[in-house]
Amino acid sequence: MASSSSSSSTQVKKITLKAADGKHFEVEEPVAMEMETVKSFFVGNEDAMKDMVVPLLNVSSEHMPAILDFYRNHSEFRKRTPPPPAEEVKAFNEAFLENKSDEQLMEMIMAANFLNTKELLNFLTEAAANRIKNKSVEYVRAFFGIENDFTPEEEARIRAENEWAFDGLDED
């Protein structure tokens, strides 16, 4: 679903973004400029600006609405005086992550990396870290889809070398 352009927002310049699967998204300029990748597309290319479609090859349209929503809200949080209460930001962030599968979280991290926005990347990587906190080695492997390429002997040796870090951990 593309972001709707209402009649009242004619003053705000819009930029069209094209997701990996070809879907177009019309985005208010300041929101689009939150993404370094979009910003750098226009650097030294200012005349062409308004009508050009910015291709975002690594971002699927599935995640675009959520990502744009994040930029919109967080840029508003940053601008507001006095700053919004911590609970409000927390509530938004929690709602953002709710119902996102591990798979979707990984895809969005890749997208945030491609779009080159520190704030979103920091937020998502922290969310990923929170999901693997206090989890067993097996769980973390499954979470990231990591294939264990150690032999049992190698793994035992590495565990022994870092014994202190495994101390008191319940193994499954």
Binding site: I132, R141, F144, F150, W164, D167
Partner: protein
């Protein structure tokens, strides 16, 4: 396919940076790629406490012994491996206790040198000197011995000179070291340093001045000093924004307090925004001439005279937040157009508060015993009041004085009452009721912090407190094994529940849920039933929400409750976060 294999290394490092040190280390066993990523992870955090050995005989962790040799081998190997990865070091933290600072000096020198040559940005060294003999001595002797060794600067670890050439370091934290000798003749080259924390270090006046004048970018300075430092002078610090002078961190490490404590502080810092002075007992002079930009000022535990205080405050025309805590002032009178927040906490001599501040948004006032006799604060600001009975007061008289205090014509947003006095001999509601009647004062949020009170007295305390004020939200904080179930029972019994205002809420915070003795810890089902009971009961009395909160450590007991009733929620503390700012850069 391997989902993570698409992620670049620096993103994996980023994710790892939000984990605890142990968790981060454990990722080395996931796969060969993760094992390799570990060696170039630019945050190196070494703490001897991770190498504590379990005492198999008692199973306690009270007196820990550490496997120092294992620790040293691990640090050494990790650092070597990291150097081979040829990336710049974001953070190096080392925290350890040594028997004799000089004994490990050569090793530490090597590590610091490696960190510096890898362009370390954040450096945090905590090297405490302790006495091995302490562990074989009983009780009080240990304390004394430990104390003596910590204070003996000759036994303290002296930092190597290479440290002072760390030109990439932006944050430097040093604890427990001796800086007097190491750097007397060294040139300091902290050209990038923005934040400096000196905690419990031996340092003299000249060194403090040298640090300040040789770090042109310094923005944030924390001084927790022990040593021959009677005067602290902060000048030639054009970029300094935050300054903290903390005497309480020095008192534990210095044996002869009367000789070494700071007596005067002089600050000339044109960019200074925040200044905090804590527990500098002998301080007689605070001179802050060139700090007209100051917005935040915190004076805690400082024996400053009334005239001095008022003279000082006049120098900060832009002040927005002022905290005065545990000071011996008899009066505070301020006039400011900018002041937004004022906290006056536990100033036991205080009799007069006179504030003329039209922009004031919050006024926090906490006291033991009796309140100040004259309080004049601009009306439209929110009040946060915390109070507890002083030891010398009879409870009934105290409650009456609180009742009078609450007659002030102000909206009270938060009222926190701490009760911890056992023996409620004279505390009877009907006695309180004999006083001239008046409606209970309406407050938005009443928090009752319960310390050493017998559960049989909960009901009477609640009764009395709800007689003098009626909260829209009632929260309880129970400490030291106080029983939450008894409190709920008491609340159900109390007549005053009918005094609750419309749309009241009840919070129950118990930080020790899991510490309850087994006979007090109710089965989950009965606690749930009680909670449902209180919800029903409070609905009848127009209170429509019950919240049970407890700290993260507690788990278990309350878990089941959160989902049983939509009116009951639970809060948990968020875990600590480690931050990796910026990504790995190749040397």
């Amino acid at each position: 396919m391997d989902r993570i294999s698409e992620l670049p290394d620096f993103i994996i490092h980023h994710i790892i940076s939000y984990l605890s040190t142990q968790e981060a280390t454990r990722t080395c066993v996931l796969s060969k790629r993760w094992n390799h990523l570990q060696t170039s992870f630019p945050i190196l955090d070494f703490d001897l406490i991770y190498f504590a050995e379990k005492d198999l005989t008692t199973g306690t962790t009270e007196r820990k012994t550490y496997n120092i040799n294992k620790f040293i081998r691990f640090v050494d190997a990790s650092l070597q491996r990291f150097c081979e990865a040829k990336v710049s070091l974001q953070k190096f933290r080392l925290s350890m206790e040594v028997f004799d600072g000089e004994g490990v000096a050569s090793l530490l020198e090597k590590w610091v040198e490696l960190a510096v040559s890898n362009e370390v940005k954040e450096l945090d060294l905590n090297v405490q000197t302790t006495d091995n003999r302490a562990h074989s001595l009983p009780g009080t002797m240990v304390e004394e011995l430990d104390f003596n060794v910590r204070t003996n600067k000759d036994r303290m670890y002296t930092l190597p000179g290479t440290l002072f050439s760390a030109k990439f370091v932006t944050t430097l934290k040093l604890s427990g070291c001796n800086l007097e000798q190491s750097s007397a003749h060294t040139t300091i080259r902290f050209r990038s340093l923005k934040k400096l924390v000196l905690n419990a270090v031996h340092i003299d006046e000249q060194m403090v001045s040298k640090f300040i004048s040789e770090c042109p970018l310094l923005e944030d300075l924390f001084l927790g000093i022990c040593g021959h430092c009677k005067r602290i002078r902060v000048s030639h610090a054009p970029n300094l924004k935050i300054l903290t002078v903390n005497g309480s961190s020095s008192s534990f490490c210095d044996f002869d307090l009367t000789v070494h404590d700071v007596e005067s502080i002089e600050i000339v810092a044109p960019s200074l925004q925040q200044c905090t002075v804590i527990d500098v007992d002998r301080l007689s002079v605070i001179d802050m001439v060139g700090c007209a930009d100051l917005k935040y000022f915190n004076l805690t535990g400082v024996k400053i005279l009334v005239q001095e205080f008022h003279k000082l405050i006049l120098k900060f025309p832009l002040l927005e937040k002022l905290i005065v805590k545990c000071c011996v002032l008899e009066s505070i009178s301020l006039s400011s157009n900018r002041l937004k927040e004022l906290q006056v906490l536990h100033c036991s001599h205080l009799r007069v508060i006179d504030i003329d501040a039209p922009s004031l948004l919050t006024f926090s006032y906490e006291f033991h015993g009796n309140p100040a006799t004259s309080i004049n604060v601009p009306k439209p600001c929110s009040w946060k009041v915390g109070l507890s009975p002083g030891w010398q007061y009879r409870n009934l008289i105290w409650l009456d004085s609180i009742r009078n205090f609450l007659k002030l014509p102000h909206e009270i947003e938060e009222l926190r009452i701490s009760i911890s006095v056992p023996g409620m001999d004279s505390l009877k509601l009907d006695k309180l009721k004999k006083n001239p009647p008046s409606l209970p004062r309406e407050v938005r949020n009443l928090t009752i912090a319960v310390g050493d009170v017998h559960p049989s007295n909960y009901a009477i305390w609640l009764d009395c407190l709800l007689w003098i004020c009626c909260p829209r939200i009632l929260s309880m904080k129970l400490f030291g094994g106080q029983s939450s179930i008894e409190f709920i029972r008491a609340l159900l019994r109390v007549n005053s529940v009918s005094f609750f205002a419309n749309n009241s809420t009840v919070n129950l915070c118990n930080s020790d849920v899991n510490c309850l003795p087994p006979f007090l810890a109710p089965p989950r089902s009965s606690l749930t039933a009680l909670c449902n009971g209180i919800v029903t009961e409070s609905r009848r009395s127009r209170t429509n929400l019950v919240e049970i909160c407890h700290d993260g450590a507690a788990g278990g007991l309350c878990d089941g409750i959160s989902c049983n009733h939509d009116g009951i929620t639970m809060e948990q503390n968020r875990p600590l976060r480690q931050n990796l700012d910026g990504c790995t850069t190749k040397l």
